[in-house]
């Protein structure tokens, strides 16, 4: 599905979303007539300082003036790997975008991420992974780290890595692996209206509490994270 197809299926009542060099900014009308703020990264664009500041600004301008949920569309490259971006403090710009999204979510503007293409590393942390519910579309192909780079660092062949990837979802790229880890909450179908699926999710949003570790445990992808976090939390509460 192209971005235009996705937007048409998501928002049959219309939208005003502009794609400016891979940065998506705008809003859309939901079935029942209220508005949804929309932002995102398209066309496998790298997320650098110039893109991040526009995305965070779009959300901040809406807080206080508008209400309703926020949709973050994701088809990005990794963070932009350049001297200029690092020189200017890319870590702060990406963190700021994530912070703005998290702040909105815990203050009455529920956030949904829609991963419909690629994403990786810092770009995924600042967008989809900073939302309350991350949804995957069939055909999305996130790669936290790509296998060739991993082969270089681990000094293993691509064949050896691909063999190991069959037995665990913990390191290899792919949407199904992120589902099993609890990073992607649910996968939608391309065969029925995306608007129906969005409305169903909005009608039944989970609480604004991070439940990804419990999800990863239930799905067998991350067996230790939830228990370790819970044990440390209990010990810390007793220690005060």
């Amino acid at each position: 599905m192209t971005l235009d197809d996705i937007l048409a299926s998501l928002f049959p009542k219309g939208h005003e979303i502009r794609n400016d060099k891979g940065v998506l900014l705008g809003s859309a009308t939901l079935r029942r007539g209220d508005k949804m703020l929309v932002l995102g990264v398209a066309d496998r664009t790298a997320l650098g300082v110039d893109e991040a500041i526009r995305l965070s600004g779009h959300v901040l301008e809406s807080i206080g003036l508008a209400s309703g949920p926020i949709l973050v569309l994701v088809d990005s490259d990794s963070q932009r790997m350049s001297k200029r971006d690092e020189l200017l403090g890319l870590n702060e710009f990406l963190a700021h975008l994530a912070k703005v999204l998290i702040h909105a979510d815990i203050n009455g503007r529920p956030t949904i991420g829609l991963l419909y293409g690629h994403s990786a590393a810092g770009a995924l942390l600042a967008t989809g992974l900073a939302t309350r519910v991350l949804v995957g579309l069939p055909g999305a192909h996130p790669a936290v780290m790509d296998l060739p780079s991993m082969a270089k660092v681990t000094k293993l062949s691509m064949e050896a890595l691909e063999e190991k990837a069959k037995s665990t979802p913990v390191f290899a790229p792919g949407l199904s692996n992120l589902v099993q880890m609890g990073a992607v909450h649910t996968t939608w179908s391309n065969d029925s209206s995306l608007a129906d699926q969005l409305e169903a999710l909005l009608a039944d949003m989970p609480a604004a509490r991070d439940q990804r570790d419990a999800l990863g445990k239930a799905r067998g992808g991350r067996l230790k994270a939830a228990d370790i976090a819970e044990r440390v939390r209990d010990l810390a509460l007793q220690a005060r």
Binding site: I53, G57, L60, Q79, M81, S82, K83, D85, E86, L87, L88, G89, L90, N91, E92, A95, H96, A98, K99, V100, I102, H103, I106, N107, A121, G122, L124, L125, L129, A130, V144, M145, M150, K152, T154, K164, P169, V170, F171, L178, A183, D210, R212, D213, G216, R222, L223, K224, A225, A229, E230, R231, V232, R233, D234, L235, A236, L237, A239, R240
Partner: protein
């Protein structure tokens, strides 16, 4: 180990111990009030990574992070220290979950601050999906804790720097202290060179690495609030200073941060090198900044005055 130090006070040891060279455990021992540290899920519990054996790699009983509770100048603090010498301090499933649990407790209590001693290359490649997600959970937990009134301070001065998702997590903290060898960035020098070529970034040019990502540049840019000398005592004092200065967090902080970062882009967006930024900040002889001794640098940084206490 302790016998030769019997007659030396903890403070003297902390003054003469390099933060950069120390282990995570030594940093905590010397940072906190004497004997006050209590660890949660220590190495005796052997909660190792369940994934490293897939790659026939050695495990560490604490998975490269030490978390617990202690006192700083008599007041309770939660602390987490990454061990940069194990897998480059990288975030894995167990490693990350310990920090997440600590932050969730801090949020519930809402009055005990958290100190994070970063020393990390970012996501642990061998468990990349679990590590990435752990960082996402930590960032969320930091912001939830700060929203509940918790002060979260990052201390950066270790061998592995603070890269990848570590850099993003540092960007979520209430305030940061950094030393000259502490580097803060997303993509590491080797990663940029591998992906974009040596013309974009020569990872073997150490001077370039330090002035682009190192503590002095981050302090001058306002990315870090306090510049610490490379000893544990100075980091202790920096942590105390920052805990006294941090104000409340809310929408206004994020609006101020938006303005601060947009202003940085418009002022320095066309600069090609850190030296150009420093010159544009009004520093005379900007090219000599890397050679300045700490005390002179701190005087300079305070004169430039770029901090972001209410804008992050």
């Amino acid at each position: 180990m302790t016998a030769p130090f019997k007659d030396i006070t903890l403070t003297e040891r902390a003054c003469s111990t390099s933060f950069y060279e120390s282990s995570a455990r030594t940093r905590l021992e010397l940072l906190l009030d004497a004997g006050s540290f209590v660890e949660f899920i220590g190495p005796e519990q052997r909660e190792v990574s369940p994934h490293l054996k897939i790659f026939d790699l050695p495990e560490q009983f604490d998975d490269g992070i030490v978390v617990g509770h202690g006192r700083l100048d008599g007041s309770p603090v939660f602390v987490a220290a990454q061990e940069g010498r194990f897998m480059g301090g990288a975030f894995g499933e167990v490693h990350g979950a310990k920090l997440t649990g600590l932050l969730r407790a801090a949020r519930q209590i809402a009055s005990i601050p958290v100190l994070i001693l970063f020393d990390t290359g970012g996501v642990r490649l061998q468990e990349a999906n679990a590590g990435e997600l752990a960082i996402a959970e930590i960032m969320r937990a930091v912001m939830e804790a700060r929203s509940a009134g918790v002060k979260v301070v990052g201390l950066i001065g270790g061998r592995s720097g603070c890269y990848g998702g570590g850099g993003l997590t540092a960007g979520c903290c209430s305030a940061l202290a950094v030393s000259e060898p502490g580097r803060i960035a997303v993509s590491g020098p080797e990663v940029i060179e591998t992906n974009r070529g040596v013309e974009e970034f020569d990872s073997r040019d150490r001077a370039l690495v330090w002035r682009t990502m190192g503590g002095k540049h981050r302090r001058l840019l306002g990315a870090a609030d306090v510049f610490a000398d490379d000893n544990v005592q100075d980091f202790r004092e920096a942590a105390l200073e920052l805990l006294g200065l941090i104000g409340p967090f809310g929408l206004d902080s994020l609006k101020a941060e938006q303005e601060r970062l947009a202003d940085r882009l418009s002022r320095y967006g066309a600069c090609l090198d850190a030296v150009d930024i420093w010159a544009a900040e009004g520093i005379a002889h900007a090219e000599s900044v890397p050679e300045l001794p700490s005390d002179q640098f701190i005087t300079l940084a305070e004169r430039i005055g770029r901090t972001n206490r209410d804008a992050r």
